[in-house]
Amino acid sequence: MEATTPKPLLELRGVSMAFGGLAVIDNLDLVVNEHEIVSVIGPNGAGKTTLFNLITGLYRPEAGEILLGGDNLVGLAPHTITNRGIARTFQTLRLFLNMSVIENVMAAQYGHTKVDVVRSMLRTPGWRREEKQIRARAEEKLSFFGQRLMGYRWDQPAYSLSYANRRRLEIARAMATQPRILLLDEPAAGMNPVETHEITDLISQLRDEGGYTILVIEHDMHVVEGISDRVVALDHGVKIAEGSFEQVATDPRVVEAYLGTKATATK
């Protein structure tokens, strides 16, 4: 941790969400400090992705507040929340498959650009300037991944990318919205060991070089151990443990959530 006093960037206070009587997130408090990497872990169905959907405004919480830098986000439209500085990736990849790689990243800059359709059709100097900026920013975000998404790949359709490259493109696309905090939903899912190792380094780089605060959902405990400043464990929508990786990994409630009760667990 840094020497300076941690400043909370994203804060959830008593957030609850239920789907037809089933409490998915129950009175959850969560703080992510500026320049911090926080991992959310928990067994399947613990409410991790729902948590992301609540933060990004796809769902509206039934109770509680979600604050970004002190401003309440509850009730805002998803695109407004993204403009405020929260960007996410999806566990099930959701790229704009029929658009080219670079267009995917360019499209995500909609909220931070202004030239309207009439000026676009007239190709005014303002459009030219802004388009140049959009493209430069897209190239910059793509270059974050070394040669993986560069060169001839820019103009290929997104569906032609390999699985790992699609995950990278999703991250690049999220970065293009100029977020303060990145929400990564299982960035290492479906990757081979080498790629998993790469993604671990990449997430640290995103924080150190990109300057993003990161909230990440991950199942791969090596990744979680490698990147996390802090780990939060969820089970049935309730926070069951929080702290460093060692603290959480050895917490009896976390072990129980993953492996069952002591009576049935054979360890």
Binding site: E103, A174, T177
Partner: protein
């Protein structure tokens, strides 16, 4: 789609649009292998589609303009109107629909009603109906704004509807518009079934554009402007937002795109373009009549966009030419009856040529010709010559030596109408049988089916242009969708991967 392996040898130039036709979906063949095979294939169709994909878009537009500008110099003025002006009007309409359906992915079935709004607005302001004769430079923007406003209201009220639900609401709107103009007609503002006649021709600064040539060049200019404008809109921030929310609305929202707003923008733009086309339509036909803006016309515009390739401007222009010219050639009163026949036999031969390998299609064709002569010879030998002495309804006579065409003039106890019905029902039955058979049996069944098709065409279909046109479009679209689901110039889209 399976995982695509890395391929470092790929050149800098992006590969042409992949075509997931029968080639790519072969079982056991990796998609990348199939794609690279398709890229290297040397068949005329592959060369043509690659050539089209590599030609830069402005060059395509230039070729189109050069051809279109030269058209009045080598066609009669009647042909220019039928094949030129009408093609361009449907091209302009299809360009607007392409924004809504192609770029933004909204299934808008009320599209023709916007053209109707434009037409009626123009007809109200520039006709003897209210004794208003405003100049076109004033009425056209008003008509566009009126259509755009209707599009905006409909878009706002149905902005949360997705896919099929949006389609149903817009279709309802189209029907409501038709009823309103045709039946409701409050205060006789729409003229009821008669519409608003005697609409002024378009005038610019006092110059009337009344001749076929002038109209043609005006509409050509509009089409070129629309093609350019929609292309530029698509290649911009807004166009990217349209396509992003078309591919994945949820992800688009999460990537800072206000999905409802960009959808409404597309709907309004499409409506305004349709409104513009409506004014041209009304001015060209010198009337606004509600039946012009109803479902059959909607189907034609959709067919244009689908045939050419959804989202492709070049495709839309080509689609308009194919659809409109086919329709006009099939029209009963057209001056080129022989073209009608060539269209029909060309389509049949193309369909047969889709059989693989090639010798199969040749075999079927030869067998059909042989079968025809055999049947004809039998009819000549054993039946009254009245059975075979008829004149084909699409003109010409050589075909009568092969196809059985009963003489319609003579009353020989043979009822000509029944013959047609029997042929038609027999054709439908044979098509069903052929479709349910496999292998050699199917090829065997194909021979009499083709012959029955010819009989149905020569005796029945060629004479009734309207129905035949729609049948032919149906067959054309089915064949094209089977061979090339993305349309002629469209790019294959991936839905779920």
């Amino acid at each position: 789609m399976s995982e695509t392996p890395e391929h470092p040898e790929t050149p800098e130039a992006p590969p042409p649009a992949e075509t997931p036709d029968a080639q790519t979906s072969r079982i056991g063949v990796d998609s990348w292998v199939a794609e690279s095979e398709a890229r290297r294939s040397r068949t005329p169709a592959a060369l043509l589609s690659r050539g089209a994909a590599r030609t830069p878009d402005p060059l395509k537009l230039l070729v189109f303009v050069a051809f279109a500008v030269s058209l009045p110099f080598w066609t009669s003025s009647g042909d220019l109107f039928i094949f030129g002006t009408l093609t361009l009007i449907s091209a302009a309409l299809a360009l607007g629909l392409n924004v809504v359906v192609g770029f933004a992915g909204l299934l808008d079935l009320g599209y023709v009603a916007y053209a109707g709004v434009g037409a009626y607005t123009y007809a109200s302001l520039s006709s003897p109906r209210w004794h208003l004769h405003w100049p076109a430079l004033a009425t056209i923007p008003i008509a566009m704004a009126a259509a755009g406003l209707v599009g905006l209201l409909l878009g706002i009220s149905s902005r949360r509807l997705l896919g099929d639900y949006y389609a149903i609401v817009t279709l309802f709107f189209a029907q409501a518009f038709a009823s309103f103009t045709n039946v409701t007609n409050p205060g006789d503002i729409t003229g009821g079934p008669n519409g608003l006649p005697n609409v002024d021709p378009i005038t610019f600064f006092g110059h009337k554009l009344a001749s076929y040539n002038q109209q043609y060049y005006l509409i050509l200019a509009i089409v070129v402007i629309l093609a350019g404008a929609t292309y530029l809109a698509n290649m911009s921030r807004t166009g990217r937002a349209w396509r992003a929310q078309r591919d994945d609305p949820l992800a688009a929202q999460a990537m800072s795109i206000p999905v409802n707003r960009v959808k409404i923008l597309a709907a309004v733009m499409g409506a305004a373009i349709a409104g513009l086309c409506g004014t041209i339509f009304a001015a060209t036909y010198t009337a606004a009549v509600s039946t012009d803006y109803s479902v059959p016309f909607l189907i034609l515009i959709y067919a244009t966009v689908i045939l050419g390739g959804i989202g492709s401007i070049a495709g839309v222009l080509l689609g308009a030419a194919i659809i409109n010219c086919t329709l006009q050639f099939l029209a009963p009163q057209n001056d080129h009856p022989e073209v009608k026949r060539w269209l029909f036999y060309g389509t049949i031969i193309l369909l047969v040529a889709m059989l693989k390998p090639v010798w199969r299609s040749l075999l079927v064709l030869v067998a059909t010709i042989g079968f025809g002569f055999a049947v004809h010879a039998l009819a000549v030998a054993y039946a009254s010559h009245k059975w075979t002495s008829g004149v084909p309804s699409s003109g010409g006579s050589w075909i009568a030596h092969w196809a059985i065409i009963p003489n319609t003039d003579s009353f020989t106890g043979l009822n000509h109408g029944n013959f047609n019905n029997i042929v038609y029902i027999g054709l439908v039955v044979m098509v069903v049988i052929t479709a349910s058979l496999k292998g050699w049996w199917r090829m065997l069944a194909l021979v009499p089916t083709l012959y029955l098709t010819v009989l149905a065409w020569e005796n029945l279909l060629a004479a009734s242009g309207g129905i035949t046109a729609y049948l032919l479009f149906g067959v054309m679209l089915i064949a094209l969708m089977a061979k090339r689901p993305q349309g002629l110039f469209g790019e294959a889209r991936v839905e779920i991967v």
